[in-house]
Amino acid sequence: MSFSLYVEVLIQGVLSGLVYGLMALGLSVIFGVVRVVNFAHGEFAVLAMYCAFVLFGLAGVDPIIASIPLAIAFFVLGYAMQRGMVQPFVTRPQHEQFILLVGVALVITNGLLLVFGPESKHVDLPYSFDSYTVAGVLIDKVRVYGAAAALAVTAALFAFFRFTSTGTAIRASADNLTGAAVVGLDVKRLYAISFGLGLACVGAAGSIMMALTDMTPMLAPSLTLLAFTIVIVGGLGSMTGALAGGLLIGVAEAVASLVVSPAIKSMVSFGLLVLVLALRPQGLFGKAES
């Protein structure tokens, strides 16, 4: 195998990793603030993929462009979900939160199965097979666009948390809930916004993924697991960790499918998950609990 092939695979891994990272970022934001583990994360990603598929089919909207309206729609969905369903669970035992979201996951997957059937779906973009050639290395055009969009959404989210007062308030309540309540922050509203932002990430990421891969409702559980793997490898609750984890898993899977076999690639990431859980349970970027 030539050197340039390795470079190609590496770049491909980085580009996919940015999209994975955005999806995982959503999980991390929800956990970091609301302290609820969104077990239906992959299901929401697949829901976004189907939305993008329908938008493309009906109006010819490029899934990468559709990521912006879908991010907004999923924000609203997440906001409503937190207000109407998840909020009472915030103070309940962790396994009950988990089971609630297992129920949500079942409903989404099977709802999609019911409406769209089990066949795999994909979209044909005019530039699906175009690529750039840089110094003899081929790079898929669609992956570059997808990664750029993912990066833009990620940057917007970071900016929101860093520079707006609502973002700062959310960080404050993630840091010290009692303190936040004492100074008069409306924690319930902040939780709803955070859940909304988490789903906005997954909405955008799912939409972008529709441009990159085929998809079936059955894909959802493995996407959930992928998001968890990334977030745990990076450190649950750490935003930088989610991004770095996405890149790491993206590259690891790309290299594994080149060196070993494509079928084995998810084993590599689960192996990585087990390794990180055992050696550094707080993740590569997480703060150790005292």
Binding site: H95, F98, L100, V107, N110, P118, A263, I264, A278
Partner: protein, 333 residues
């Protein structure tokens, strides 16, 4: 044993006996199709009890029990087809394998204090690693599946778990009853109280001298071994095994539905849950088929909605409520 039965009031003894007799004579009363639904519910009861011992009693949420089910099923099927070892013998291999896998999982989980949600994720990851492995391992048939010979001349070899619907029905009934007895005995044993203590408050349990890791290992081993036995049954009953079915996360979810809806940590929960969900599921599928719709997702969709409703409204499941309504509450020990 005496302690194990202490929860029974005269009223609930009668109720239990009525259920038992009804299930015993069911094959002579109901048609074959209804019987197959009762069989599925019995199997759901059995697997639910096995899972409930880990989650309901010991507080460890496993979302990867398909792993033990699949290991048990594949081990017995391969030993039977490739080496001629009968299931009554290979069931021990199946249990040993499941315990081995549980030991690795437990070692990682408990040794490195992977708790709560992280533990649940670890169980999923383990099951997924094995599923993908089996999908790509030609010795076990890969994704194309592994099949047991269906041969009419073998059909009465009960010692090879070959038999008609009646045979498998009574076997499922025996397993369901056995699982109830195991759970009842465990609950009234010292080990069972240690489980509950850990579930309620690990720190306090430790302070009282409960060896947390050892106790959790035991819960995991018992649960995994019981699930593996269920896998052996499934292998010989269905005669075909696919990693995408028996090792899939959706299988793990299927196992946990009945005990959660019936009542986590209760003896009758898995039974009540399974006998509610399974008939409901088939009624739904049949009803839709009757009006000319084949909707593969409807059953699981409804299960998901029920799961959400139950966990939101009554997180301890419907059994505690139902028991109160029927006057069948357990006697306080």
């Amino acid at each position: 044993m005496k302690g194990a039965l202490s929860f029974l009031t005269p009223r609930s003894t009668i109720a239990l006996l009525v259920c038992g007799v009804a299930l015993l004579i069911a094959p002579f009363v109901v048609d074959r199709y209804t019987l197959s639904i009762i069989l599925l519910a019995l199997l759901g009861t059995y697997l639910g009890q096995a899972w409930n011992i880990l989650m309901g009693y010991c507080g460890l949420l496993s979302l990867g029990h398909a792993l033990y089910l699949g290991l048990g099923a594949y081990a017995s099927a391969i030993l039977f087809v490739n080496y001629g070892v009968g299931p009554w013998l290979s069931v021990f291999v199946a249990m040993a394998l499941a315990i081995g896998a549980a030991a690795v999982l437990g070692w990682l989980g408990f040794r490195f204090r992977i708790e709560d949600v992280y533990f649940s994720l670890l169980t999923i990851a383990f099951a997924e690693i094995v599923r993908i492995g089996f999908d790509n391992w030609s010795f076990v048939g890969g994704a194309a599946g592994f099949f047991l010979p269906v041969n009419a001349s073998l059909s009465h070899q009960w010692w090879n778990l070959r038999g008609g619907p009646l045979f498998f029905y009574y076997l499922a009934l025996a397993m369901a009853v056995a699982s109830l007895v195991i759970a009842a005995v465990l609950r009234s044993s010292k080990l069972g109280y240690a489980f509950l203590a850990i579930r309620e408050d690990p720190q306090a349990a430790r302070a009282l001298g409960v060896n947390i890791n050892r106790t959790r290992f035991l819960a995991l081993f018992i649960s995994a071994a019981m699930t593996a036995v269920g896998g052996v049954y499934l292998a010989f009953w269905t005669n075909n095994l696919f990693p995408a079915q028996i090792l899939e996360t959706s299988k793990s979810i299927e196992i946990i539905l009945a005990p959660i809806i019936g009542g986590l940590g209760t003896l009758m929960g898995p039974f009540v849950g399974a006998f509610l969900l399974v008939p409901l599921g088939s009624a739904l599928t049949d009803g839709l088929r009757a009006i000319g719709l084949s909707a593969p997702g409807v059953k699981a969709l409804v299960y998901g909605l029920i799961l959400m409703a139950i966990i939101a409204a009554t997180p301890n499941g419907i059994w505690p409520w139902l028991a109160r309504k029927l006057g069948l509450e357990a006697r306080e020990p």
